[in-house]
């Protein structure tokens, strides 16, 4: 599966998913209701994003930022997940995604995250990044 080359790409595309979500009042409200501050750490390339749902903020380069839960994965897995190509439960069992913190809270977010898959794919296409699209 394709992966990102630079942290800036991770921030632009994966961070962008949540920036789009926070701009939608309905989604922003649902995300805020979870009260979750989620850190997404990617390897290859090393990058860290914090999704601060109560404040509707995305923090980039957030390695030292506090969070309630941290998910760590290769950026290739993250790219696949946001296109609906990776099952989180199987990826966790395979050790491809590790979670520190309340897993249940994260799983309760997944119905919301599924609504963002098309947004993500659309953005990649709009930017001419078909190389990142998983078949």
């Amino acid at each position: 599966m394709p992966a990102f080359a630079k942290p800036e790409e991770v921030y632009r595309y994966l961070g962008g998913i949540f920036e789009t979500a926070f701009a939608d009042p309905e989604l922003a409200g649902k995300l805020a209701a979870t009260g979750l501050v989620l850190k997404m750490v990617c390897t290859n390339p090393d990058s860290a994003l914090v999704i601060d749902t109560p404040n509707g903020k995305v923090v980039t380069d957030a390695f030292d930022h506090p969070s309630d839960a941290t998910m760590t994965m290769d950026s290739e897995v993250a790219n696949g997940y946001w296109q609906g190509k990776v099952n989180l439960a199987f990826a966790m069992a395979r050790g491809k995604v590790t979670v520190a913190g309340p897993i249940a809270k994260l799983l309760r977010l997944t119905p919301l995250s599924k609504r963002l898959f098309p947004v993500y794919v659309e953005r990649l296409r709009a930017d001419g990044r078909d190389d990142l699209i998983v078949d």
């Binding site: 989180l88 439960a89 069992a93 395979r94 897993i103 997944t110 119905p111 599924k114």
Partner: protein, 413 residues
């Protein structure tokens, strides 16, 4: 327009904390007057969904059968549990239970292909040996012990372990995870933990074991079911490791709790109806075949499953719109007096006995029903012959809307 909810409560925690007899009083009213009724979402769901408007309750035997068989209208792919659970988990744990044709057909055919006659024979032999050993262990533990812990819970997991060839070193881990996966409704077991956290952790354990086993059997095939699952091929298609891992979780849950609960309920019923026990023992081999169907009807171990219609449909005169949840209440179907005479009576000679405890028919009819019946036959053969005086004490029921569960049941012999 908001549709009014039925005045009968089927959704509250309080309703599911009452006894089966109390619940039957509500089901009986609905069966007679409002066989398809509209209710608010279930209370205390694993996942709250503020957009969930409620569900249609289906309580008549004939309607349960119709919803089960009309898989062209009532689909499973949008969830089968009364509760809402994350889609990620549905895919990873419910295998073909939560799929629709043609995907369902493919996976179920592949899994069925692994149950070769030779494999079934091997499993039957192991079940008999396990049942004998478990009852011997119960006898050694002595009168007054908890029947659930010392007997009912033991056979399903041993069968599962033997069937799949789970290595000895992994068995305790699998037993623990399988227990956790079915105990999310039990506050005692949860001890303050989030049920979804517990299920996820249990699932991860079961997935990891399945992945490792699949890898090992690929390089070192044996004569167990896991090897057959890897090698199964229908029309050039094979199961992926993910398919196998999801099936493994399904087996650990569906093949575990159902038989355990039926075993406990049956011992209790054999205690309450001594005439039936005497009747069975008068010709055990000739009568146990039909008797286990009554065990399963009377226990009704799975109480609810959901479907979602993909088109508008009229059921017993009620218009149901596409997308609205439909929940089948199996104990209500098993107590339907249109089909069962004197349903409160535990009648081992009941014939015919078209209970819906294995489902109402159609493509989702329980794949494991033969294994379950073999387990019940073998276990009660040993119990009633090794410990002919065995009696059950008062059950400690576990509240919940999915499995008709007995947490503990003292036994005396």
């Amino acid at each position: 327009m908001t549709r009014p909810y039925d005045e009968i409560d089927l959704s509250s925690r309080a309703f599911w904390a009452t006894s089966a007899a109390d619940r039957e009083r509500s089901f009986a009213i609905l069966r007679a007057d409002r066989p398809v009724s509209w209710h608010p979402p279930v209370q205390d769901a694993l996942m709250e969904d503020p957009a969930d408007p409620g569900y249609w309750a289906v309580v008549r035997h004939a309607d349960i059968v119709e919803v089960s068989r009309r898989t062209d209208v009532f689909v499973s792919g949008q969830g089968v549990l009364f509760e809402n659970i994350p889609e990620e988990m549905l895919e990873a744990s419910q295998s073909f239970l939560a799929m629709d044709p043609p995907q369902h057909t493919k996976i179920r055919r592949l899994v069925s292909a692994a149950f070769t006659p030779r494999q079934v024979k091997r499993i039957e032999g192991q079940i008999k040996a396990d049942a004998k050993a478990i009852v011997q262990e119960l006898a050694a533990a002595g009168s007054g012990v908890d029947f659930v812990h010392h007997c009912a819970s033991r056979l399903p997991i041993r069968t599962l372990s033997d069937m799949l060839g789970i290595p000895e070193s992994e068995r305790a881990k699998v037993v623990h995870a399988a227990d956790a996966a079915v105990s999310w409704a039990d506050p005692v077991y949860l001890a303050g933990r989030d049920p979804l956290d517990m299920i996820t952790e249990a699932q991860m354990t079961l997935h990891s074991v399945a992945f490792e086993m699949a890898d090992r059997r690929r390089s070192h095939p044996t004569d167990d079911l896991m090897t057959n699952l890897i090698q199964a091929e229908v029309d050039g298609e094979r199961l992926t490791d993910e398919d196998i891992a999801a099936f493994f979780v399904l087996l650990s849950v569906a093949g575990n709790d159902t038989t355990r609960q039926t075993t406990s309920h049956a011992l209790r019923a054999l205690t309450d109806f001594p005439d039936q026990r005497a009747w069975l023992l008068a010709d055990f081999d000739g009568r146990i075949g039909g008797a286990v169907d009554e065990f399963v009807r009377y226990a009704s171990p799975v109480m609810t499953f959901r479907r979602t219609p993909v088109a508008d449909f009229e059921l017993s005169g009620q218009r149901i719109s596409a997308g609205e949840k439909v929940v089948m209440f199996y104990p209500a179907g098993n107590w339907d007096t249109e089909v069962f005479t004197d349903p409160d009576r535990f009648d081992l000679s009941r014939d015919p006995n078209p209970h819906v405890s294995f489902g109402g028919g159609g493509v989702h009819f329980c794949l494991g029903h033969q294994v379950a019946k073999t387990q019940l036959r073998a276990l009660f053969d040993e119990l009633l012959h090794q410990l002919p005086d065995i009696q059950a004490g008062a059950p400690d029921y576990l509240a919940g809307n999915f499995i008709h569960a007995i947490r503990a049941l003292p036994c005396y012999f």
